[in-house]
Symmetry: C2
Subunit: 376 residues, 2 copies
Amino acid sequence: MVTLYDVARLAGVSTATVSRVIHGQDRVRDSTRARVQQVIEKLGYVPDGAAQSLSRRRKNVIGLVGVERQSPKEQNDIESVTLLFYDQVLRGVEARLRENDWSLLITYLREAGDPDVPRLLRLSGQVDGLLIGEGIVPSRVIASLSKRLPVVVVAGSPGERAADVVAADNRAGSAALVTHLIADHGKRRLYHVDGPPSAPDAMERRTALSELVAATPGCQLVGSSQGRFTVRSGEEAGVALLATCGAVLPDAVVCANDEMAIGVLRAFARAGVRVPEHVAVVGFDDMFPASLYDPPLTTVQQPMRLLGERACIRLLDRIADPGLPPEVELLPTELVLRSSCGCPPGTLTRRQVPPLRTGRAPLAPARSGQPAAVAD
Amino acid sequence: MVTLYDVARLAGVSTATVSRVIHGQDRVRDSTRARVQQVIEKLGYVPDGAAQSLSRRRKNVIGLVGVERQSPKEQNDIESVTLLFYDQVLRGVEARLRENDWSLLITYLREAGDPDVPRLLRLSGQVDGLLIGEGIVPSRVIASLSKRLPVVVVAGSPGERAADVVAADNRAGSAALVTHLIADHGKRRLYHVDGPPSAPDAMERRTALSELVAATPGCQLVGSSQGRFTVRSGEEAGVALLATCGAVLPDAVVCANDEMAIGVLRAFARAGVRVPEHVAVVGFDDMFPASLYDPPLTTVQQPMRLLGERACIRLLDRIADPGLPPEVELLPTELVLRSSCGCPPGTLTRRQVPPLRTGRAPLAPARSGQPAAVAD
DNA sequence: ATATGGCATCTAACCGCTTACATCCGGGCG
DNA sequence: CGCCCGGATGTAAGCGGTTAGATGCCATAT
């Protein structure tokens, strides 16, 4: 292994000078710089990251902790919000880091049971800050980690208090979507296909739905079932719905994500139920196949990549200046109206949904209609 | 920051003892161990990764270099082999690393132009080994990196000579698929929707197709176009095909991946061309929506996650014992027969496709039908 | 000629941990 | 009773960089 000392010796200078040349800063005579450069090239010298980190007292590395819902078995019954979701977030983060010459260490936690705390601790010794996805890591653990190093929770519950949170405004998005069904299409009898209880975003979406149903005269929830965010669980929900409702279909089925909506559509197709003629179906996330499906799915787009970028920026800020009080940043979603809701086939309308609230999490019930506080 | 010294001082022992306690090895008197443990807990001590790496002369970190084909703009016209592909590979790698307490550093390279060599170099100073995806990094660069540290190429061309390669046997998979079209469905007039020239897997698939067409009397390639692995480019190819072929459709359209196949299906659907009645369409990869589409897509499944696992294992082997000569490992693919090829609707047949060859890359033309050498 | 100041460069301490080697200690044995 | 031995623990030298402060040099000011 070639070290700084080798370079220094061969170039006839001190290690300090070589270091200065490498970092391009400072005043070094041009002739010296050139000589050192030459030796570096010749030896193929690359600085050792560990030594740099130790010496600088900063690693320039952040960690991303994701969730793996997918069981290794079913590679292709992808339970893929998670999948697509982290992939997009990851790219957003990475794009940001690249600009600053930071690096990204990544780890997935299995969904099941207790988070592997020892592993999180070890990770915390390898990075300058942590991006933690979603709701698998209990608040208590997040709080204890944030005492050690800056932590930003991505897509977590806006209720998190110990750390910064960057999330899509699921509540506003869901509210906009349901409002569209109620106000624009006159739907009243709604059926809800919920996500897993552990998912904070599903919770937010559910809350918005309930609030709107409660606030709208004549509107009611005619049933609901709980899915696992997978296509299969959506199919099961669809079957259950048909069995339960009998001849009287609901006006619309509101699903906590696109995969489950697709599952419902498949169940309906097999049963001869036509969408949107007999019943409307809507999803959430606007994942890849949503636009390809027949009928094209009306849904809400989450800015996943942006989520990653904003979370990353926030984390780097916190690393640069710890001690600022934690904040919540909600990112705008977008209503994507295709035709599964009853909008005319072949059309596509996109409506920006401004965040309902942001800043230090007030945790008050969302007041829908309140003018948006634009994030950042 | 709490250091080893703090712990040692408070526990009234030397740093060596604390270190021994942390690593659980060695003989330390039980009473001492307990006392140290207690202080560790109390202080919330976590070892510094950089210092450990430096001292051990090993970082226990590997790097994964992926490709980002997706332009940041079109979050949802996901050009997503890449997307799904790396995500799956990533999980495979991560699952393996987790078992060994190693960590994963991840970076994406943009598709365009010259790879960012300085960045790769810097990365090489932060890890013990490198997993490099696909064909964007020129052989020359890979060769120079492998001189510095162990490198395994994932899903790269089996022709790579400077480093280990772990890839799916695209050629065998493609051959099996095309053979199915020719032998089982009697297709003769084939149209090819190719992938980008930079993608080695597309190249392998194309080669198998050409070889089979050439080897089958009466079989011919009636046309081809080049796509970018995206749905949109598939649609364009479909439109071009219809324009070119006029009334005389080919028997089958062989697409270099599923996204483009879906694009072709969409173009056909709009033009009133029915699949598989008028023409068969097949893809490659078996990505998520392939099974959901109408008609369900016949394709070849790549073992993406396994790819990651095998590559990771290989890399760790090489790190443990450098100097072994590079090897090529081809992983079996699986033929997934749904109905877009003409197989009866509602059926699903899976056929394991054994790798044609493996071991030290012979680079001889694949002899199809040769008994498979089972990898590892 | 001498003092002065600023630039280029060097010296060496330090970052936090690992570990080879040294040391200490108590008991069994001759 | 002194020696030897082995297990428990301590000492201190690195690991490969960064950087504060020291040093040397030379041109300019006095």
